[in-house]
Symmetry: none
Subunit: 251 residues, 2 copies
DNA sequence: AGCACATGCTGGCTTTTGAACGTAGAGAAA
DNA sequence: TTTCTCTACGTTCAAAAGCCAGCATGTGCT
């Protein structure tokens, strides 16, 4: 394996696990710990990670901000998107929802303004915050993923397989004309794909900072989605592209 | 475990419990108390926590429970039962837990003092409150029952059917020599019975007010349970009966 | 050959950790 | 209150693990 390939793989490891150890990587790649240390030094120089005694943790751009902190960021945009997204939902709708914070805000708005709603979700925050609402909530079950406070794994996927919803509402990490809609982690991406199969319509929520970004894993093509809700008007280039892809854009 | 990982986890413990004790952490991480003390010094230097004699507390929001709530919920009794129950659990144990509040307190105590624990539960509160713990948590999924903030229904039952635990920990509504252990609602009773089938041992938690009470639905006979944890000594009549039923009583 | 780069290894240095031991603090007893 | 006891704390030391700089080797390219 070439050096730059190994460094790419190290970055993938750190995206998934948030932290890596020198010894584990040395074993995994069958190289000496010295080599891994040298890789680390270089990656630290590029600001991709921060080294600690015995390993390194994720940092800066590559980082997925924990959902509990993320709500602090861009709360205005989320509120606006939530409102627009909620307007697209009718009474008596069955919704599948992922564990994104913007989706969470949208569901709270729906709870305020709509009735006879059924939600199927893998988000623990939705379960907890809407525990006193009038909404009928179904939880997927599964293994609790601490970083996003969501339930993932085969059990969650199987659960989704038994239900059919009118619409699925998703957040995302990046939107790219070339690479489609991308996510930063594997298990949740997989669950979104399963939700997609079991919903009549797909709505994606993304504030303006998500445009022309590419994250770790591709989840959807634009041709697979029905609505895109954002906070400010996208560029004409994007509008043309989305029209071509038959995506209804709302802002 | 690496030093920086351990320090991250110490902070998570503090976020959940507001305070931590040196000894508990040393046990939980299998390191000497001296090491924990050194971690504490560093974290205190970063302003993450404040040390006191024997442990440390979270900085800033040192929230106090209003006394009226304490009184209503019999927190003292629950705490005592939780402590006794937690002492019966070893490290590396797989636990099934229902959604009772005493069970919830017990799981928090287990989180403080044990390590390598896996929990399978239908309680939303457990999912939410232990979302930053070291415990590996599996949620049953199912329909959210608002009265108890728990997940019930066939999906929850099916989920349990795929797992096997070392011990199941339950609360209850009533204990009666004549009518056994009773519950006040159907769906959760059913789920307990399913958990019982998939656990090697059964532990029931009940404060003294539950004795000689009968609730709506019979869930178990005493011969089906292994441990009964309560807050004060039961009467001799009860002790004789429980011994005959082969139940180990702790208070 | 000469050069650039990647890798592994060596020896010295730093960090981390646990144990030992004396000191200091908290709570009980007088 | 003062004294006493038990636990927690801090310091010191030694061992283990990780880190770094430098050197040697190997590979590919000019």
């Amino acid at each position: 394996m070439l050096a730059f390939e190994r460094r790419e793989k190290i970055l993938k490891h750190i995206l998934i696990d948030k932290k890596v150890r020198i010894g584990d990587l040395a074993t995994a790649f069958s190289v000496s710990e010295e080599t891994i240390r040298r890789d680390m030094k270089q990656l630290e120089g590029n600001g991709m990670l921060k080294r600690f005694y015995g390993g390194a943790v994720i940092t800066g751009l590559t980082r997925e901000i924990p959902s509990r902190d993320r709500h602090l960021a861009q709360i205005e945009e989320k509120g606006k998107i939530a409102q627009k997204a909620a307007e697209l939902i009718n009474n008596q709708t069955t919704i599948m929802a992922d564990s994104g914070s913007t989706v969470f805000e949208t569901l709270k708005e729906i709870n305020r303004t709509k009735k006879d709603i059924i939600i199927v979700t893998n988000s623990v925050n939705v379960l907890y915050e809407l525990r006193d609402s009038n909404i009928d909530i179904f939880s997927t079950g599964g293994n609790l993923r601490k970083e996003s406070t969501s339930l993932v794994g085969p059990a969650a996927s199987d659960f989704i397989g038994n239900y059919y919803a009118d619409i699925a509402i998703f957040g995302c990490k990046g939107l790219s004309v070339e690479h489609g809609i991308t996510e930063s982690n594997e298990p949740e991406s997989q669950l979104k794909m399963q939700m997609h199969k079991h919903s009549k319509k797909i709505m994606v929520l993304a504030d303006h900072t998500k445009f022309d970004k590419v994250a770790f894993i591709k989840t959807f093509n634009f041709s697979q989605i029905d609505y895109l809700v954002t906070d400010i008007a996208p560029s004409q280039l994007w509008l043309d592209f989305l029209e071509e892809m038959n995506v209804e854009v709302v802002w």
